[in-house]
Symmetry: C2
Subunit: 341 residues, 2 copies
DNA sequence: CTGTTAGCGCGTTCAA
DNA sequence: TTGAACGCGCTAACAG
């Protein structure tokens, strides 16, 4: 391994000078710089990241903490972060939290041990107070897909209510007046907001959604049955209690597809008999049949933005620390909603 | 930040003793160890990874290099690696290569600068000779989803030929004699092997696949059209030239679904009119309709195994360096193949 | 069993 | 504009 000393020796200068050249900082004579640079290239010298991080107390590392990585939504967060980090020659370290709050905190500690100042944390259930405290200590810590009022400028989130309204408006425009909602977990902020959005959107047109049309279990049922099983049972229950609906709004694309499958298995067809609208616009929304009309969650862009924000927050002239960072969803029209006007 | 010296001072011992306690190595008196451990806990001391890596010339880091992370197949590699790494208290660093050979090499360098000895590299197109040389230099470098004879013990790969045979045998058993194959890129080793497998499997039963039934473009068409477009055009072409087939084998699940969609759009139904069989068994294979019969690629297990192997290769008593690491695919029966006996 | 000493490779003073 | 000296936090010899 070639060190800064090796380069210095060969170049006939001091290590400090080499250091200045490498970092492009400080005063170095033009000729001297050129010579040193040449030798750096020839010798293939690359600074030791660990030594750097040790002495400067900061590493060129962006930490990304998500529940898992094999799900495309979370993979997209890592992907967006990597894309943006790469521009600044930063690297990405990914940690799985499995939605466990303690694991999230532990991941943060672990990242800090690596001298990582820039952290993108996807925490759905972490205690706001605790997270706020953490944010206080770590200037480069930002939160993705969550809004916490006390640390709003650190949150990159999506306007879920607008997403719900978008779905509602679209359905209304297509003639739907009887709408059902299948959601998942009432502990989850997003879910509640999306439901509110749908309700508000429809209410604005004078349309009401009866409570029995909203499947929003507080129990453990969904987890026991799995997404597919839960959606099937929810659809069945909707029919069993005689709910009246021409369209179903689901929490996300995965559930939308599960709902379509359930419908399909019952001999119904989408969108002829029932329309379905999803949320997220993952790849599967394009490739399922019927292709899914859905509310787009610009997660890659959000992850890129989050990374940029984090990087800015730890730079000399931080930017964005006094703003909020709200992204707006958009509707992507495909073939799962029928115009019944 | 609390350092090893702080702990030493409070505990009234030397830093070395604290170090021994932390690492659980070397001789330390029972009482002494307990006391130090207690203070470590109280003070919340956590060793500085960078200092460690600097002096010991190795970091507790597993590097994962894949083309991208938002695709579930690659996300699964990162996921499996993280799962296994976590057990050894290692962390995972993910780098995107975008299938660019230079970027792969650069990613390796970057990982090494971080003191990372354990690298899982997914390289489809990298030059074998160059990769072999790299493997020589880096004992903990392993390759996933690729077989290179000259460095076989470093390769964790799947028996694609067997996968093809599995598909063939299954189709034969279900009465299919006329099979078509839609593949993608003839530069790709996997694709060729899978096709060979299908051919061999069928040939063993005395069934031949005419060349016109095999769509295997060497041009850029697939890239221009995208997966969906390419599959649609391939299906159309198959019909246009009057190819005779009751089943289609595709390179992977994504293409299988695209093919089913194309068929669907042409008014055909799967599996009634045509059977389809995929490869990989990603999540989408379960949730598409009809649910996809496919050849399972145990990628998470393979990534876990790769990580374990890499870790072992850099340990005191390396294991597995003289073996090969071949995984076998299995068939997952769902609803996209019809029994036409 | 425990402490002392000497770096790991680098950035950052401070002089020159 | 350059160089010398110091120390980041830790582990690895070596003494004791």
């Amino acid at each position: 391994m070639v060190t800064i000393k090796d380069v210095a020796r060969v170049a006939g200068v001091s290590p400090s000078t080499v250091s200045r050249v490498v970092r492009g900082q400080g005063k170095v004579g033009k000729k001297c710089r050129a010579k040193v640079q040449k030798i750096i290239n020839e010798m293939g010298y690359r600074p030791n990241t660990n030594a750097r991080a040790l002495v400067s107390r900061r590493s060129e590392l962006v930490g990304v903490i998500t529940p898992v990585l094999h799900k495309p939504f979370f993979g997209s967060i890592a992907h967006g972060a990597e894309r943006e980090a790469r521009k600044e020659r930063f690297r990405v370290m990914t940690l799985n939290s499995l939605n466990d709050t303690d694991a999230e905190l532990d991941a943060v500690s672990s990242l800090r041990e690596h001298g990582c100042q820039n952290i993108i944390l996807h925490s759905k259930y972490g205690d706001e107070e605790k997270l706020a405290e953490l944010a206080e200590q770590i200037p480069g810590l930002v939160f993705i897909s969550r809004f916490m009022p006390s640390i709003a400028p650190r949150c990159i989130w999506l306007d879920n209510v607008s997403g719900g309204r978008l779905a509602a408006d679209y359905l209304y425009k297509k003639g739907h007046r009887d709408v059902a909602i299948i959601s998942f977990n009432s502990q989850n902020q997003d879910q509640e907001e999306r439901i509110q959005g749908v309700k508000q959107g429809l209410a604005g047109k004078g349309v009401n959604i009866p409570d029995e049309n909203i499947m929003f279990p507080i129990n453990e049922k969904p987890h026991k049955l799995g997404i597919q099983g839960y959606c099937a049972s929810a659809v069945a229950e909707l029919y069993a209690k005689g709910a009246k609906f021409t369209a179903i709004v689901t929490y996300n694309d995965e559930m939308a597809i599960a709902v379509m499958n359930a419908l399909f298995d019952m001999g119904k067809s989408v969108p002829e008999d029932v329309s379905v609208i999803g949320f997220d616009d993952l790849d599967i929304a394009k490739i399922c049949r019927p292709a899914l009309t859905t509310i787009r969650y610009p997660i890659v862009e959000m992850a890129e933005y989050a990374t940029k924000l984090s990087l800015s927050l730890t730079s000399k002239e931080p930017e964005g620390f006094e703003r909020t960072h709200l992204f707006m969803p958009t509707i992507v029209e495909r073939n799962s909603v029928k115009d019944i006007n």
